[in-house]
């Protein structure tokens, strides 16, 4: 033992007191019991030898060191232990990877299924629409209904429309300092009302189609339409008869108000007639009916 060199100075102290921990662990790596038992056996053998007198017998008198049945059993247990641990670890790893793989497979299968169903929804919708049109076209009543439906769709903003009309571009006065010289939400409301009054069939502001549920109002510092904030300048498109609308616009009360705003407050106001304009449909959530139901026909 390496502790032997220290024995002279610290005879009475046990080795763990004066040895560093790692040295102690290394030095006592063999169970001390083996040495104890060997010593005792040797002492007993010597004593027996002394009692019998130093006659024939093993002069070395080494104790038997061959492993017996007990060692065999313990080694067997050790083998079972090691094998079981290895098998268990392998089995667990297999389970984990199996679980992940099956989850991935399931996700892929479900998302494929979802895609297929979405495609089917789109197909069915298109089919539904074409069947509805086909059915309506078969009778004169149906044709009337179909054209009425089309008209209602245009008026309610449910469908995109194209047609001639007027384009009005309005903006704040150059170098505006007060609200008087800026386009306010109520100014836009007046403009839109004047256009409706002068025969517009569909109106959009900066690409936002107006419906009977659309609000034009200030939110913070910007005007919002259909809950979308608009930037200046404001381009108002109104589908209608381009020949009569400008004249009728001037005849309306709000139209005259706007001409005053242009003259007095110097708000930018520019009305031009267009032969073809395209207005988008309103967002779907602006078209949902919440309370109304169709009345049964008598």
């Amino acid at each position: 033992m390496s502790a032997d060199t220290d024995r002279s100075t610290s005879e009475d102290l046990p080795p763990q007191v004066h040895m560093p921990l790692l040295d102690y662990v290394t030095a006592t790596s063999l169970d001390a019991d083996y040495a104890h038992v060997a010593e005792r056996t040797a002492a007993e053998a010597r004593r027996a030898e002394a009692e019998q007198g130093s006659q024939a017998g093993d002069p070395t008198s080494r104790p038997a060191v061959r492993p017996g049945v007990a060692a065999l059993v313990v080694m067997g247990v050790f083998g079972v232990l090691v094998t079981t641990a290895a098998v268990q670890t392998a089995r667990n790893a297999e389970d984990t990877s199996n679980g992940r793989e099956s989850l991935v497979t399931q996700i892929k299968a479900r998302s494929t299924q979802l895609d297929a169903r979405r495609a089917r929804i789109a197909n069915l919708r298109a089919e539904n629409e074409s069947l509805q049109n086909l059915y309506l076209e078969t009778t004169s009543q149906g044709r009337a209904l179909s054209s009425r439906l089309e008209r209602l769709r245009v008026m309610s903003g449910a469908t995109p429309v194209t047609g001639p009309g007027v384009q009005v571009v309005v903006d704040d006065a150059p170098g505006a300092v007060s609200d008087q010289q800026r386009v306010l939400d109520e100014d836009l409301q007046k403009l839109v009302n004047a256009l409706w009054a002068s025969g517009a069939e569909a109106i959009s502001i900066n690409g936002q189609r107006l419906t009977n549920l659309s609000a034009i109002r200030f939110a913070g510092s910007a005007i919002t339409v259909n809950f979308v904030s608009l930037d200046r300048p404001y381009t108002v498109l109104a589908v209608g008869n381009p020949d009569t609308m400008p004249a009728r616009f001037v005849d309306t009360e709000h139209g005259r108000d706007w001409l005053d705003l242009h003259e007095v407050a110097h708000l930018e106001f520019d009305m031009t007639t267009e032969q073809s304009m395209r207005l988008p449909a309103a967002p779907a959530r602006r078209l949902s009916l919440r309370h109304v139901t169709q009345e049964e026909k008598p």
Binding site: V25, D33, A38, R66, P67, A71, G79, V80, V82
Partner: protein, 110 residues
């Protein structure tokens, strides 16, 4: 010889039976294996030193396995299972390495 035979028989039996370890015992199995490995290498070194004893081997094997598992169990209950396992592995690992070094010296006389 007889010990190697026992090991072989044990491995074969383990492979054939593939015993299912109860879930509550599973965390203690690896540490028990390391403790058993320490006892086995200690026994091999004692055998080569000429001081091997069956009784000591059996007792050291059983007590090593039980105490290692017990320490980890206690650590789990106290919430320091991971740290205690590390401590046990470090100590047993050092013992195994130094025992193997002694065995190497015996076999190769170096």
């Amino acid at each position: 010889m007889i010990a190697g035979l026992g090991l072989l028989v044990g491995i074969v039996v383990g492979l054939l039976l593939q015993p299912q370890v109860p879930l509550w015992l599973e965390p203690y199995l690896p540490i028990a294996v390391v403790a058993a490995l320490d006892a086995v290498f200690g026994a091999l070194r004692a055998f080569l030193d000429g001081i091997f004893d069956d009784k000591v081997f059996v007792i050291s094997f059983v007590s090593n396995v039980l105490i290692a598992a017990l320490i980890v169990y206690l650590g789990d209950k106290l919430g320091v299972g991971g740290q205690l396992s590390t401590g046990v592995i470090v100590v047993l690992g050092i013992r195994i390495f130094s025992n193997v070094a002694a065995i190497r010296r015996h076999i190769f006389h170096a």
